[in-house]
């Protein structure tokens, strides 16, 4: 077997798995940026109905008359849709490929029951793929609920504030929302570090020594807490 022959079929580096990771990292970070803005909007619920509804209205009239009504919103929606599609496509393509690359034999990679949780892996790194699927399912449900108001637990309303409060007075709405937000938090706990490293920003010898790791923890903690405050405050009757 001549091991120096480069006979395997090659695809250009611009379509390599590494390039795919760039697409995944950029699309992921676009969504993170959106989540931070979205969280800021949600926290307006503590300002009361007028502030919240005015903000929602403002988003729709932003840039008028240069932009049509809801113009900015549609730009953001298209960018987000593209990000989700690119991200999920790359995730699923690489997921399948990596499974084959890990060389399983008879349903298992290593038969030893020891060392199954790795040496220094984080719990979050185990949850990215199925966590991502949970997030995807939640996004669909969430849009049907609060954006389109096709499903309206607690009662439909023309006021975004009222829709939010009606929904979050119901325990199972808060519960499903909480699970999804925790899934996002875990996803970003590893994902933000991973994206920045994929984009060439890590200069440390190990994952835990890198400054990017606490940065990822901080941003994901802020996003998680920021998203959980409004629903729990409404459920517990602190606001709304």
């Amino acid at each position: 077997m001549a091991s120096t022959q480069l006979t395997k079929k090659r695809v250009p580096a611009s379509r390599s798995t590494v390039a795919m990771k760039y697409a995944m990292a950029v699309s992921g970070l676009i969504m993170v940026g959106y989540l931070i803005l979205h969280m800021y909007g949600n926290l307006k619920v503590f300002g009361g109905q007028e502030a919240f509804d005015a903000y929602a209205h403002h988003l729709r009239t932003f840039g008028e008359p240069m932009l049509p009504y809801e113009g900015l919103l549609w730009i953001v929606r298209v960018a987000l849709l593209a990000s989700v599609l690119v991200h999920a496509w790359a995730a699923i393509t690489l997921w399948r490929r990596n499974k084959a690359a890990a060389g399983y034999s008879g349903g298992k990679r290593y038969h030893s029951s020891k060392g199954a949780t790795g040496v220094q892996r984080s719990y979050a790194s185990f949850t990215l793929r199925w966590g991502g699927v949970i997030i995807l399912v939640f996004i669909v449900y969430h849009l049907l609920h609060l954006t389109a108001n096709v499903i309206s637990p607690g009662g439909a309303s023309d006021s975004p504030y009222q829709r939010t409060v009606n929904g979050f007075e119901i325990w199972w709405v808060v519960l499903s929302y909480t699970i999804a937000v925790l899934a996002v938090g875990l996803h970003l706990w590893h994902g933000i570090w991973s994206a920045l490293t994929t984009l060439g920003q890590n200069r440390s010898k190990t994952r835990l020594a890198s400054r990017l790791t606490p940065l990822a923890w901080f941003v994901s903690a802020v996003i998680t807490i920021g998203f959980l405050l409004p629903p729990w405050a409404i459920l517990l009757g602190i606001t709304g």
């Binding site: 395997k8 795919m20 990771k21 990596n98 890990a102 060389g103 290593y110 590893h190 060439g200 890590n202």
Partner: protein, 249 residues
């Protein structure tokens, strides 16, 4: 010491393998891990059984031949090569699981032996520099900043053992490939081929069927040579730079 080893036995590339237990009554704690396997093999040979096939060459931690997965961890519990691991790391009465590297790109040849030819082909695709042969050049003609020299040297210590791939949950060869990209890319001699190198090595890495990196870092935890994780970001920076050049891809 009394030790039970459970070893992956597989007759050939296409055969189905399985874990087979063997008991060893008289293991000295001063033995290296491979000596323990030698003792087992002598016994198996005397008993007329097929000895366990495993790779080794230097037995001093520099050739990269000897990797096996011990108790689910590449090269076992110490951060060193299998040949440099000693039985004193284990306790009397322990059961030790020994398996070959698992990766789609490293097919099992027999028992614990895998074919790591994919690594050679990645190196052949770009892990070299072009230099005139003949009399040695004057060393002081090419100054290298100390920090780059140190970092390049650190990356150059990779022995191509494949533990990074065996430890990676995605079977990715990023640490190995990135170590070579960093080693040559930081030195002046590596500049002429810097862009073609990263393009060609990444293409070959994919063609061999290795997985993609999710920056988990198990590779660096398993690497007997302490190749640092930042080499992966270095590869990413080099590849982004090369792809940004018009007409590169």
């Amino acid at each position: 010491m009394k030790i039970t080893v459970r070893i992956w036995r597989q007759k050939g590339p296409e055969a189905k393998g399985t874990m087979v237990p063997y008991e060893l009554d008289d293991v000295s704690e001063h033995m290296s891990f491979l000596e323990m396997l030698d003792v087992l093999n002598e016994r198996l040979t005397l008993e007329g059984e097929e000895p366990v096939a495993f790779d080794s060459d230097c037995r001093e931690g520099i050739c990269g031949m000897c990797g096996v997965v011990i108790n689910g961890i590449a090269h076992g519990p110490e951060v060193t090569t299998t040949c440099q691991l000693h039985m004193r790391t284990f306790n009397d009465g322990d059961t030790i699981d020994i398996e070959p590297w698992r990766a789609g790109a490293f097919p099992v040849v027999k028992d614990l032996v895998v074919d790591r030819g994919a690594f050679d082909r990645i190196i052949a695709a770009g892990g070299y520099i072009t230099a005139p042969t003949g009399s040695a050049p004057e060393a002081n003609n090419l100054p290298v900043p100390k920090i780059d020299a140190d970092h390049a040297f650190e990356a150059a210590t990779c022995i191509g053992c494949g533990a990074c791939v065996a430890a990676c949950p995605n079977g990715s060869a990023m640490l190995f490939t990135a170590a070579k990209i960093t080693h040559l890319g930081l030195l002046p001699q590596g500049q002429p081929e810097r862009e073609s190198r990263v393009l060609n090595m990444v293409e070959q890495m994919d063609a061999e069927g290795f997985g993609s990196c999710t920056n988990i870092g198990e590779c660096t935890a398993a690497c007997p040579k302490g190749i640092p994780l930042d080499v992966i970001s270095q590869l990413n920076r080099d590849l982004m730079g090369a792809l940004a050049k018009p007409g590169s891809a």
